[in-house]
Structure formats: structure tokens, C-alpha cells
């Protein structure tokens, strides 16, 4: 040891500073004591959550809102396993987070020591990569690689497992300047031949549809998408994770496709002769019955992940690459093209006019869709985060998102409890934005302990609970497909959400009449701290349109709307 050697804990903080980390969501524990001792003096903001799952979701929300890597920290054993759902969630939605877990000292690994869990083994299938550091000299390059891997190519979570003895050992610290990974090459050049072929397919198409997913947002390619769509005059449907990649009010916007998509998005896909897929993965919630999906369309699939090509659907022209540069190149090949889609756009316009999203309005009972619409009217620029289920679908359907990173939701894994901690993370990352968690009463109760975190750290979000007293989406399926046998989905009167908010020193508002919605929203927007609004909504309201599981996406259930 020389005078310049430092401990592993100090070195980790230095590594994080080098990566530009300003915030960590974490929870301490026995093996993390040396690291937390260093954090005590560090200028990195540490946000103490109340459950490690909240830390993982907060890091995820932070990453999606900012485009930066989110960082969460948990102790060994139960701390680490509590991160697992959050890591799986980030993996399914390609979110760059680095999860750091404490581990028992290296000599004790494998002995079933107190609070030991094989977290690298457990997270093997749900991380892009993970590391167990067994030698202090590996620490700097592991952290460097972890951030590089998490944030490049198709992003995803990376976990670093850090044994306690590594944090106390001292060594000569030097942060590597670059990463050398011979098995990982995320920078893919645009394949010009394929782009030219795509351009000629687009020129020949009469009924093109652009099907854009989360990859467009990850690639920061919304402007390239807008330009391409306007150049070729093709309508654009955005998947749940692609919402915000294309302006929701644009005349070419079709909204969301699939199970709870707009009728016109699904009809357009089904009648299309060319599906231009960008950063989307033909999820079963989008395609419905796969054999009947887009039956007349040739398929162009632009994706950075070669493993997505041909995974779920046959593709006529795959283009492996980053969505932004590929669309830019495609657009340049198509400058000034004569579109053949006028008739097609007229047909879509007619569908939009005749078969819009709709619900039965009421003056007596609050319709959840109306709550979402009133939030849109009051703060169209807000970041909307959702829980999972009916609340999520209504938010996706009725809020018009104009820009990327303003809609944050758990798409692939469908994690109830995601929304509130993710909203917290989004607000920390974007302190000047209004952040609203559109919640269900079921989902919110899965992570409501984080009310303490927002209270203690002065993080202001608005939690808008669409309280229907039910696990609404499951209840809807029971109503439609299980003879109205409501098996264990009623959770009415679980808790007084107003008092719950007040118990944490926050503001609670209950609204049980439609006339009270807008004033509650105004009050919440003006408040100086987190507000929980308990909107008592129609308990039997269903999400429509709906494509039943296993049906083709033009076999759509819808409700009768009173004129």
C-alpha cells in the first residue's frame, strides 16, 4: 500500500463520479456499511427508499425520463432479491440501469452466510450482463464496462455484485479511459443496400403504415421519425412503449395498436401493404393472432437487436441498426417522392372520424377516461407515469403525448407497483417537469410505502388513483370471459387514501363527482408537495376497444355508446 491507494468503497464512488452519476436510489445494509460510510461525505445525491424494489423502479423511471443511466443500490441477500422485479422490468423494456448489490465477503461466498444470495445467478436471465467482483483490481473496469453495456446498443440493466471485503481493501486506483470488449460491438453502420431496397419498397407502396416502438425513443429519433412520416405521408402507429415518439395530435398519428389500440390503428395494419417497423418487436399484445396479423403487408423491420428479426413474425427486409441513422438515411433516399397514399389516408381519416375512441360520459359518476382527459387539458406537457392495468390503458388512450420521454410505463413485464416509484425517479431526473402517476388502487398499494421517500426528500409528484375498488383489468376479463365470476378481484375500501397521504405529511384529496375533477387537479398542480388524489370512479368501467386474447386484431369488441 502506498500513500495514493484508496479503498474499494472510495474507488466505487470515484467510478460513479467518472460516469456522471448524480443520483443513487438505495437502501443500506450490513455488507454495505463501508460504502455507505463513503456516501455520507459524497456529493452524489442518495435517495433513501423504503423498499429496494422502489429503488430499482425509481432508477428505471429516472433513466426513461432523462435518457441517462439510472443507478440503484441494495445490500446482499434480501436487499438484492428485492431488486429482482425492478431489474426484470428494466430488462423487458430495454432500460439502462446499473444495479449495485452488496455481497458477503469473498471467503464466505457459497457458504450460505447470513444474508447471502447468489444474485448474479438469480439475475442471469434478466440482465444484459452482470458481474461478481472477486478482485479489487477488477473494480474500475467492471464499473466502466457496466455503464457502457447498459447504455449502448439495445440498452438494459447491468448488475454489479460487490463483496464487503472488496469495499474495504485498498489499491492503486486508476479509472480506465476506454472499454475493450471483443464480444460486444454495439455500433452498427447503416447498411446502404438494404436502405435503398427499403426506399424502393416504400415508393411502390400504396398503403404504408409505420409501426414505431420504444426503440425510436431510446434512439432519440423522434425528429427522424416525424420527417420520414411526412416525407412518405404514411400514418404512424406507436406501441405502448413508443408513445411520445410521434406527436399524438398529428394528422398522421394512429395512436396505439393491438389489444387496446385504436380501431383505426388496427384496421390500418390489417389493410396495409407495407409495414415499416422501427424499434418494435411484434409483441403478442400488438399482433394478436400472429397468423392473421397484417396479412397483406410486406414487412420492413428496423431494429438494433438482430435477435428480434424473425423472432415472432416473418420479415421481408430486416435492417439491423440504430433507428435514428437508419431513418435519416431512408428519408434522404426518399426526398421529394411522389406518394401514392392519398386514397389510403382518406380511408384512414374516415375510420378515425367514424370509429374514434369513445366512452359513455356521465354527470353522476366519474369516468376514468374523463380524469385522464382533464389532466391532459390542465397539463399537456407533463410526464405521465402509469401503474399496470386499466389505468395504464386509459392513460395511453386518452392523453395526447407530443414528445418522447413523457410517457413512462411498464410494458413488457407489466409490473404493478411500478408507477409511483418510477414517477419519483422521473421527477428527480426532471425536477422542472410536472410528473403524474396515473394509478389504480391495486397497483398503488404495492409500492405506497414510497410516500415516505417523496415526503422526506421533497419530491413532488401527483398520484392520481383511478379508484374503482377492483383489480380492474382482471375484473374486466372475469366479466367478459369468466361468466362474471369475480374471484378475488374486489379490493374496495382497502384504505382511506386521503388519510394515508396525510399520515405521511402529504396532501390527500378525494373526488367523487365529475364536477370536482378539474379543481382537484388545479389544487394538486399548485401544491408544494406530493398529492394523492383519490378519484372514486365507476367500478364497472371497462377498457375498450378490446381484441380478445388469441383473436386477430381486427376482431374488436367495443361498447355501445349512447348518442
Amino acid at each position: 500500500m502506498t500513500d495514493t491507494s484508496i479503498s474499494g468503497a472510495k474507488a466505487l464512488i470515484a467510478c460513479l463520479r467518472n460516469e456522471g452519476v448524480d443520483t443513487i436510489f438505495g437502501y443500506p445494509g450490513g455488507v454495505l456499511l463501508p460504502l455507505y460510510d463513503e456516501l455520507y461525505d459524497s456529493d452524489i445525491r442518495h435517495i433513501l427508499v423504503r423498499h429496494e424494489q422502489g429503488a430499482a423502479h425509481a432508477a428505471d423511471g429516472y433513466a426513461r425520463a432523462t435518457g441517462k443511466v439510472g443507478v440503484c443500490l441494495a445490500t446482499s441477500g434480501p436487499g438484492a432479491t428485492n431488486l429482482v422485479t425492478g431489474i426484470a422490468n428494466a430488462y423487458m423494456d430495454s432500460v439502462p440501469i446499473v444495479a449495485i448489490t452488496g455481497q458477503v465477503p469473498t471467503p464466505m461466498i457459497g457458504n450460505d452466510a447470513f444474508q447471502e444470495a447468489d444474485i448474479t445467478g438469480i439475475t442471469l436471465p434478466i440482465t444484459k450482463h452482470n458481474y461478481l467482483i472477486k478482485n479489487i483490481n477488477d473494480l474500475p473496469w467492471v464499473v466502466k464496462e457496466a455503464f457502457y453495456i447498459a447504455s449502448t446498443g439495445r440498452p438494459g440493466p447491468v448488475l454489479i455484485d460487490l463483496p464487503k471485503d472488496i469495499t474495504t481493501e485498498e489499491f492503486e486506483f486508476e479509472y480506465p479511459k476506454r472499454v475493450y470488449l471483443r464480444g460486444y460491438h454495439p455500433d452498427i453502420a447503416v447498411d446502404n443496400d438494404r436502405v435503398k431496397r427499403a426506399a424502393s419498397m416504400i415508393r411502390e407502396s400504396k398503403r404504408p403504415v409505420i409501426y414505431a416502438g420504444g426503440g425510436v425513443i431510446i434512439s432519440n429519433a423522434a425528429s427522424e421519425l416525424l420527417k420520414l412520416a411526412e416525407t412518405i405521408m404514411a400514418p404512424v402507429t406507436t406501441t405502448l412503449l413508443g408513445i411520445g415518439a410521434f406527436p399524438g395530435t398529428h394528422q398522421l398519428a394512429l395512436g396505439m395498436p393491438g389489444m387496446h389500440g385504436t380501431k383505426y390503428a388496427n384496421y390500418a395494419i390489417q389493410e396495409s401493404d407495407l409495414l415499416i417497423t422501427v424499434g418494435a418487436r411484434f409483441d403478442d399484445r400488438v399482433t394478436g393472432k400472429i397468423d392473421a396479423f397484417a396479412p397483406h403487408a410486406k414487412v420492413i423491420h428496423i431494429d438494433i437487436d438482430p435477435a428480434e428479426i424473425g423472432k415472432n413474425i416473418r420479415v421481408d427486409l430486416p435492417i439491423i441498426g440504430n433507428a435514428g441513422p437508419v431513418m435519416q438515411s431512408l428519408g434522404s433516399h426518399l426526398q421529394g417522392m411522389q406518394t401514392r397514399s392519398q386514397e389510403w389516408l382518406a380511408k384512414i381519416a374516415a375510420w378515425k372520424k367514424e370509429q374514434p375512441l369513445q366512452y359513455n360520459r356521465s354527470e353522476n359518476v366519474i369516468k376514468p377516461q374523463q380524469v385522464v382527459q382533464e389532466f391532459y387539458d390542465a397539463c399537456p406537457d407533463a410526464i405521465i407515469v402509469t401503474e399496470v392495468g386499466q389505468n395504464q390503458m386509459w392513460a395511453a388512450q386518452y392523453f395526447k403525448f407530443e414528445s418522447p420521454r413523457t410517457f413512462i410505463t411498464s410494458g413488457g413485464l407489466g409490473t404493478m407497483g411500478y408507477g409511483f416509484p418510477a414517477a419519483m425517479g422521473a421527477k428527480v431526473g426532471c425536477p422542472n417537469k410536472t410528473v403524474i402517476d396515473i394509478a389504480g388502487d391495486g397497483s398503488f398499494q404495492m409500492m405506497s410505502q414510497e410516500l415516505a421517500t417523496v415526503a422526506k426528500n421533497d419530491i413532488k409528484v401527483i398520484v392520481a388513483i383511478l379508484n374503482n375498488g377492483n383489480l380492474g383489468m382482471v375484473r374486466q376479463w372475469q366479466q367478459l370471459f369468466f361468466d362474471e365470476r369475480y374471484s378475488y378481484t374486489n379490493i374496495a375500501d382497502s384504505v382511506d387514501f386521503v388519510k394515508l397521504a396525510e399520515a405521511y405529511g402529504l396532501i390527500g384529496i378525494r373526488v367523487d363527482e365529475p364536477s370536482g375533477i378539474s379543481s382537484a387537479i388545479s389544487e394538486a398542480l399548485a401544491a408544494d408537495r406530493t398529492v394523492v388524489i383519490d378519484f372514486v370512479v365507476d367500478p364497472m368501467e371497462n377498457v375498450f376497444p378490446m381484441v380478445p386474447a388469441g383473436a386477430a386484431i381486427n376482431e374488436i369488441l367495443d361498447l355501445e355508446v349512447a348518442s
Binding site: 442471469l124 436471465p125 461478481l132 471483443r182 464480444g183 438482430p306 435477435a307 428479426i309
Partner: protein, 166 residues
């Protein structure tokens, strides 16, 4: 349809678990897997025999390619490569049958590596067909125990699959 893949991986702890875990969770069937070091000590080479059509092969290849520790993947078509496996076969043998078993082993260029009062151990090296053939021939004497390695394979001629050329 079977495909033989030569997969170069970082010689790091856990890499076998990453590869085998990927196969199980994606529902791919591994018929045979052999792993060992190469001329470069930082690189291990896996020979994986996987059953499936071209679509499965494309998925296996691209999913394997996503593993950070996987350096390269090469498909080795049967007519452009050689493959070998090794088997140890413990066969029941008494004074009457011993010489016949030794003759069979001789024909297959197999070796007798242990002689006991009631058994012989035959060591045979060869491609899949040869090992199956000698096993069938020895079956009637009574195979008491059989152990086989996974197959290893290499391209014919000057084509090289090494850690250095990627």
C-alpha cells in the same frame, strides 16, 4: 436438422452457465456441448450441437451473439468440417468373449485400456456414426457402463476460427 456451432467465449467464470441458461430459457435443445481452452488461454471454445430448422438456428445464433462473453459464433457444415467424440465403454467379457471383443475394437481402431476379470474398457474415438456402430456391435456382450464426451469439431482446410481473427 442438426447444426454444429463453434462458439468462442471469454474464459471467465460463469460463462458456461450463461450459455446453457440461455438455451434452456429460450427453449432450444442442446444435443451435445463440449467446452475447453484454446491456443489462446483467455478464450474457451464451445462446440454445441443443436437440433432445429434454419429459423431456430438464426435465433440461437443471434441470442448467443447478445451474450457479452461470446466472442464469435461459426456454423460448421458437416461437409466442410470434421468432428470427433470419445467414448469409454465397459463391456462384460469372460475368457470366451474377450478375444472377439478385442477383434471388434481392433477393426474400429479402438483401444482396450483396462482388463478386469469380468470386464474390458474400450476407448473409441470417432465421429458420431462410428461410436454408434461400435456401441451396437458391443451391445450383445453386455455393456455395463458407457460414458461419452461431447463432440468437438473443426473446419477443414485453411479456414480458422481463433480468438485473434475477429
Amino acid at each position: 436438422m442438426k447444426h454444429t456451432l463453434a462458439v468462442l467465449v471469454e474464459n471467465k467464470p460463469g460463462v458456461l452457465a450463461r450459455v446453457s441458461g440461455l438455451f434452456s430459457r429460450r427453449g432450444f435443445n442442446i444435443e451435445s456441448l463440449a467446452v475447453g481452452t484454446t491456443e489462446d488461454l483467455t478464450v474457451s471454445r464451445m462446440t454445441i450441437v443443436v437440433a432445429g430448422d434454419d429459423r431456430v438456428l438464426a435465433q440461437v445464433t443471434s441470442q448467443l451473439g447478445k451474450l457479452i462473453d461470446v466472442i464469435s459464433i461459426s456454423d460448421l457444415p458437416p461437409d466442410e468440417s470434421v468432428d470427433r467424440g470419445l467414448a469409454l465403454i465397459k463391456v462384460a467379457a469372460d475368457t470366451e468373449t474377450r478375444s472377439e471383443i478385442m477383434q471388434i475394437a481392433d477393426i474400429f481402431r479402438a483401444k482396450i485400456i483396462d482388463v478386469g476379470a469380468e470386464t474390458l474398457i474400450v476407448e473409441v474415438t470417432g465421429d458420431q456414426a462410428k461410436i454408434v456402430a461400435i456401441t451396437d456391435m458391443l451391445d450383445r456382450f453386455g455393456i455395463r457402463e458407457l460414458v461419452r464426451t461431447g463432440r468437438i469439431a473443426m473446419s477443414r482446410g485453411t479456414k480458422m476460427i481463433t480468438g485473434g481473427n475477429i
